[in-house]
Symmetry: C2
């Protein structure tokens, strides 16, 4: 993908997340960016990301919702300050809670589209709602409560 | 691990789940079994399962809760019929919904212990509550609503 995601602007030492860190060579390197008022990310699962034959395992779907949720939270935080990703200081969120509803089996072998809606931006907390679609059909939906990392986080 | 998990008794064609399938060589191969009235599973994340330095990424935690939830559901279903895993017909559940609360950062580099409590067994639905502990401290908790696979599932 040529277009940069908000994850491309995470500080280097916070860019190793397995789900979305650009510096994690083993991970998914998910990229989240704006598409109008919504956020979007795309990911094509590998054949081994199987649940039962023909379908994606739920843990991957949860991971994608999680990382697109925190990425969308960062996008929303920049927007709330009328700043662009890449301006300082950078935003980096982690997940406080994650809810996933598996509406129907997600087919393996096609690109998945994640779409995020910003539900609330309040202080250090951002709530997003995420859908996962395959072949134009929503197969899962999630709600992510994300909290901005403070310097103390890494000292916990 | 010498002790067999309920996943060791899943039918071969339903044993490829990335999170818990014994036949998925790329996956986590989680094994869930009884420990008294609770279910238990253990997993040591790899160094690349990082979120931010020193901590496990949330997607893996969600995956482990998900798979231990469906494994625990299968264990509960056998128990409800006074049968042992390995007797026929086998039970195999998938996730309808997943809720994860990240209570504190989960340290990377230690074995994680997942413990499950069976909350409800009703028809084809089993609800479990799962905790994730590191070094004896609960770092995340989850609730999994699992539904037994029917033959029609694979035809959806």
């Amino acid at each position: 993908m040529d277009k940069k995601g908000v994850q491309d602007y995470y500080p280097d030492d916070l860019s190793y997340c397995y789900g979305c860190g650009r510096l994690n060579e083993y991970g998914h390197q998910l990229k989240s960016y704006w598409d109008g008022e919504e956020t979007i990310a795309r990911f094509t699962p590998k054949p081994y990301h199987i649940a039962v034959p023909g379908f994606v395992y739920g843990g991957l779907i949860a991971s994608l919702i999680d990382c697109h949720g925190t990425g969308s939270a960062a996008l929303a935080a920049y927007k709330a300050e009328n700043r662009e990703p890449g301006t300082f200081p950078p935003f980096r969120f982690v997940t406080a809670s994650l809810q996933v509803d598996y509406l129907k089996p997600t087919p393996l072998g096609v690109e998945l589209e994640l779409r995020g809606k910003i539900v609330e931006v309040k202080g250090r907390k951002v709530i997003t709602e995420i859908t996962v679609s395959a072949n134009g059909t929503v197969t899962a939906k999630g709600k992510v409560v994300a909290v901005q990392i403070t310097e103390n986080f890494l000292k916990v």
